[in-house]
Symmetry: C2
Subunit: 165 residues, 2 copies
DNA sequence: TATTATTACGTTATAATATTGCAATAGGAG
DNA sequence: CTCCTATTGCAATATTATAACGTAATAATA
């Protein structure tokens, strides 16, 4: 499952083994440092999310947990996801009612997601300019932004190339 | 139900009767012009959405439809909502799994929503700058945006004033 | 170590949101 | 009128998410 050396992430080629390993290690270190319990279920869910750069629904995760020998009632998945999201290891993609592993952990961020409608990969980007812009115009019109969700749907370059026009 | 002369919209005072009436009339005219069937259920759902500047869930709408003597199976609401969204009369707020009437109909737009966590009003704004920004940076990183969802959660000024600090 | 508080887990049940499929019907185009 | 298509009625079901509550594990304090 984790053998592929290089797949598309954020629509770029990269060494996914390294990507996966670094993220898991960073999560472990962060949990150690902050006295968070990186329990088997939480770890497994993060591993699953990291296995591809796609969003997985809670019930898909539940299936995969079951296959891996974990208990499989909905709360098992939702609790693990809640932990991962709260601590910045994963994000919920509202449009898809699904979850992706965070690829920018550690940096305080307000991410923008690019969702390819064809390959369904999800890339996380950090766009300070857009966020600042938004905050300023909101402020001007009498609204104080506390959190922003930005999700873009479209096609990545490699999928665009294969499209029938 | 529609008697209040002036309520908060987009966190601004306005004549809501006029707001409501204009929107309904514009919808009617648009449907006439484009040969769209503005059926009783569709009309009623738009009326409900326009009654306040808040997002209503599909099942809330269903309750209100029932009260108004309509049939009340889920597809009744979902079909009407689908029609309204497709034709730009309403938008789905993904964060809330709920729907709001569009306040910028006619203008081709990619809206940004400001959701007050206290009064729950939802304001729709048009932010060409942010969208352009986003498109450009996406383009640069090899992604072609087709649709963008921007939803900000926060507090409006009048709610902020009443908050205990 | 014993006691208490807190956090996480196991389990059952149910709530909330959304869709599918198919038959019946209404309205417009020819 | 007749055909065609869009819409509606209806039943069932799929998908996503949470509530409630007892037990087990861990941490904090005495």
């Amino acid at each position: 499952m984790y053998k592929t050396k290089t797949i598309s992430i954020a629509f770029k080629q990269h060494n996914h083994n390294a990507c996966w390993g670094n993220a898991m290690q960073a999560a472990q270190e962060y949990c150690d440092k902050h006295k968070l319990k990186f329990t088997p279920a939480r770890r497994k869910v993060l591993e699953l999310l990291l296995s591809e750069h796609r969003a997985l629904g809670a019930y898909k995760i539940l299936d995969l947990l079951r296959e891996a020998g974990f208990k499989s009632q909905p709360p098992v998945a939702y609790r693990a996801l809640e932990f991962l999201v709260e601590n910045g290891f994963a994000h919920k993609i509202e449009r898809l009612n699904a979850f992706v592993a965070c690829t920018l952990h550690g940096t305080e961020h307000s991410p923008t997601f690019m969702i390819c409608r064809q390959c369904e990969n999800v890339a996380e980007t950090y766009s300070p300019a857009s966020n600042l812009n938004l905050s300023e115009s909101a402020e001007a019109s009498g609204f104080k932004i506390e959190q922003t969700i930005i999700e873009a749907r479209g096609v990545c370059n490699s999928c665009a190339k294969t499209e029938i026009l």
